[in-house]
Every structure is written in C-alpha cells, then in structure tokens.
C-alpha cells in the first residue's frame, strides 16, 4: 500500500534557528505534494506545495525540497518562531489513474524560546 511519512518524530528547535522537517513517500505516481501545519485543536492549514516537475519551491520563510529519486520531501523553516510550533504533515496527490490524497503521520515541531 501507499505509505507517506512513516515516522512521527518530535523536533525541538531553538527560536531563531532553522528547522528541517522530513517526509518519505512511496507512491511513484504522486505528482503533487503539499505541506500542512496543524495547530492544536484546529484543522490542517496549507503552507506550501510543489509539483513533481520541480525540485525546490520557496515561500515566505519556508522552502520545500523534493527529491523524486529517493521519494523524499523536506520542509525548511527559516528563523523558527514560537508560532511555528505545531504538527506538520506532508500530503501527496496522485492525479493519474488513481486519484488519491494521502497524508503522512506528521512531525511535531517544538520551538524553545
């Protein structure tokens, strides 16, 4: 079956440092990837996305890297702030013959003031 983000680590980062959150996926047919942020008691919220024809995309303080060779995604957060504390999920979309949006298990980011 499809597995996205098999690991659920907790990442503790000092405020002001950069954070890197990783995600592995196994569906080679996936062509669109999204990072979501979920704060306690809320639904996931879109952060940044990337299509499979790209290997890097930058937003405001966030960068997503895609390595299709090893089926790996990463989310980099620059100058991490206390408000970045949340659980981060990667999600993959396979828009071909079998359309499905699959979420990984998530990574909890704790920002130490």
């Amino acid at each position: 079956g499809e597995n996205v983000g098999l690991h659920l680590p907790t990442l503790s980062v000092q405020e002001g440092d950069n954070s890197i959150i990783n995600c592995a996926y196994s569906n080679s047919a996936s062509d669109y990837f999204i990072w979501y942020k979920q704060e306690s008691g809320k639904g996931p919220q879109f952060i940044i996305d990337i299509r499979s024809n790209m290997d890097k995309r930058q937003g405001q303080r966030v960068t997503v890297l895609l390595n299709k060779t090893v089926k790996h995604l990463s989310l980099q957060i620059a100058a991490t702030q206390p408000g970045d504390s949340a659980v981060y999920f990667c999600a993959e979309n396979a828009s071909g013959g079998y359309q499905k949006v699959t979420f990984g298990t998530g990574t909890k980011l704790q920002v130490i003031p």
């Binding site: 996205v4 983000g5 659920l8 669109y32 999204i34 979501y36 008691g41 809320k42 639904g43 996931p44 919220q45 879109f46 996305d49 999920f89 999600a91 979309n93 828009s95 359309q99 499905k100 949006v101 699959t102 979420f103 990984g104 298990t105 998530g106």
Partner: protein
C-alpha cells in the same frame, strides 16, 4: 470569505448511539472530503465527493458509516451505531477541484464512552 464550517465541534455519546456531523464547504468548491484523524496521526480519507457523487469511499466502513451530499454543497457524515474505537476527530475539507490545496474545517471531536 467564510472557511469550511463544521458542527458540532465536540460530541460525547455512549457506544451504540448514533451521531451525525455536518460540513458546509467553501462556496464554489466542488470537491468535499471527510477525513478521520486519530490522536497523533495524520488524517485518513473516509470519502471524497465530486459535486454530489461519491468518487472514493473505499475507506468508509459502510456497515456503520454513511455520508451524503445531496445537492452537491453541504454534507453529513453519520455513524450508527458508534463504537468506542470511533473516538477521533472528523475533519471535513473542500477544494475547488481535485488535485489542489485542501481547505480544512476545525473538525468535530467525537468521544464514545
């Protein structure tokens, strides 16, 4: 613009009782999703609608779960009868069409006693 609205936010019931959750997606969004989220895990798809048609309900436990989106707008997810293992957060999401960013509601937290 109003986001995805879900109700109730919290529901506590005894096992074997029925429960229903309601979702109003963002206006104009054709695709509607119901996800189940257990504590510490990523959302798992239960059912996806394209307008009023359920196009992916393969993960919906049809012996006790049902869903409808009669007019292609709002949707209801029902569980009858509820079991202890159904305790979770039920998330509704919508998107303009399949393959893009999902907009989530805040979820309905179910506790089955």
């Amino acid at each position: 613009e109003a986001g995805v609205v879900q109700s109730p936010r919290y529901k506590i019931i005894e096992k074997k009782q029925p429960v229903a959750f309601w979702c109003n997606p963002i206006s104009g969004h054709n695709t509607l999703y119901w996800y189940l989220q257990n504590l510490g895990q990523g959302p798992e798809l239960l059912i996806r609608y394209e307008n009023e048609e359920a196009v992916d309900d393969s993960q919906l436990p049809k012996d006790r779960f049902s869903a409808e989106r009669l007019k292609g707008v709002d949707s209801t997810l029902k569980i009858q009868p509820a079991e202890l293992g159904d305790s979770a957060v039920y998330l509704c999401a919508s998107s303009p069409d399949f393959g893009g960013e999902l907009f989530f509601g805040e979820g309905s937290r179910l506790t089955v006693l």
